[in-house]
């Protein structure tokens, strides 16, 4: 049988989180470079903003509960800010 799918490498969760925060919390579009050498500040700040929005513990880290919420099917409109 093919080997079980390896656990996704942590980077995937982080990339998923980064895309999520870019999409719904305008990470990276309001200053602060994003990418390999991103400043920790915007990512953590946006992550905390998302955790606060969803009433999660504001840890600033990608805890399982936060990842679980990020993986839920949802609307494509920003949580902070507006489509225009």
């Amino acid at each position: 049988f093919p080997a079980d799918k390896q656990d996704e490498p942590p980077a995937t969760k982080e990339e998923m989180a980064e895309n999520y925060l870019k999409r719904f919390y305008s990470l990276g579009t309001d200053g602060g470079p994003v990418g390999r050498k991103k400043h920790i500040q915007p990512f953590t700040e946006k992550l905390e903003q998302m955790q606060k929005f969803f009433g999660l513990k504001v840890t600033g880290t990608l805890d399982p509960k936060t990842v679980e919420v990020m993986e839920k099917p949802r609307c494509g409109v920003y949580d902070v800010g507006q489509y225009s």
């Binding site: 949802r74 609307c75 507006q82």
Partner: protein, 366 residues
Amino acid sequence: TVAKSSAWQKKDLTYRILNFTPDLPQADVETAIQRAFKVWSDVTPLTFTRIYNEVSDIEISFTAGDHKDNSPFDGSGGILAHAFQPGNGIGGDAHFDEDETWTKTSEIYNLFLVAAHEFGHSLGLSHSTDQGALMYPTYSNTDPKTFQLPQDDINAIQYLYGKSSNPVQPTGPSTPSRCDPNVVFNAVTTMRGELIFFVKRFLWRKHPQASEAELMFVQAFWPSLPTNIDAAYENPITEQILVFKGSKYTALDGFDVVQGYPRNIYSLGFPKTVKRIDAAVHIEQLGKTYFFAAKKYWSYDEDKKQMDKGFPKQISNDFPGIPDKIDAAFYYRGRLYFFIGRSQFEYNINSKRIVQVLRSNSWLGC
């Protein structure tokens, strides 16, 4: 919401359905969209008229992937749809991801529920942090047949467009807050080591190791279960949860509804005079299940699958100090807990005494 100046400056809006998903008959799509607009016109002076041959205020389309609006969809799951705040051109338009499966049932994803949410954006609403609100960002698997616009959404849309002319102002369900001292539970049960507190269309789920309880929709767990249930208990022998509403009860095995349910409570041995029960609890120490209805209670033997002789009895005689009309009850770590209104009575079966009186929500981590 957007600023009032950015909302539609007219009350009579138009919409046009540019194309149809192949997942549903066209008529079902039209009905879902019409019903989704009605959610908002019922609570405001807004009207929505469908037009066919010219550009409307709210252009509705089904599309997939990158559809040239700078907000590409992402395949099945993830992002389901989006819509733009009021304005000219793309303003107000709503796009639905064709890579999703659109349904008219509680199977994911119900088109009516998603459309009602997106049209909230088309009218100028943002996302709500209220977990029970329609405008909450994530999809909630609730029963589309019994949908009621929550109060949080009514407040937001009426801020922008005012109240409806309906002489009876519509109101909607509110979301329970964990530390509301006045919360009244419909039912409480253990569930494989966790505690489940049912309140209206929600449940609080409390894991012994977690400091706080987690709020969920009942129907996120069990889509076919009714809301506002009457009673629930865990049968430790079968590890099933039995949930009661009116004269029916259903058995749940984890997230599954057990085949052959719902059944009549009369099959358990209740007389026809009993129309509903108030609370149910299995007391392991006695090996009996107690059912409470009005001022009486019954004892049921799970092994023999019948009511014990000599019942019903008066609650006041056998549980001194416990007021009649119990809302909920559960048995946990050797103690029996009765919930009556916003009070909770911890009861010692052996000494037949109330050990302490607590707030009903003392378990939720307030």
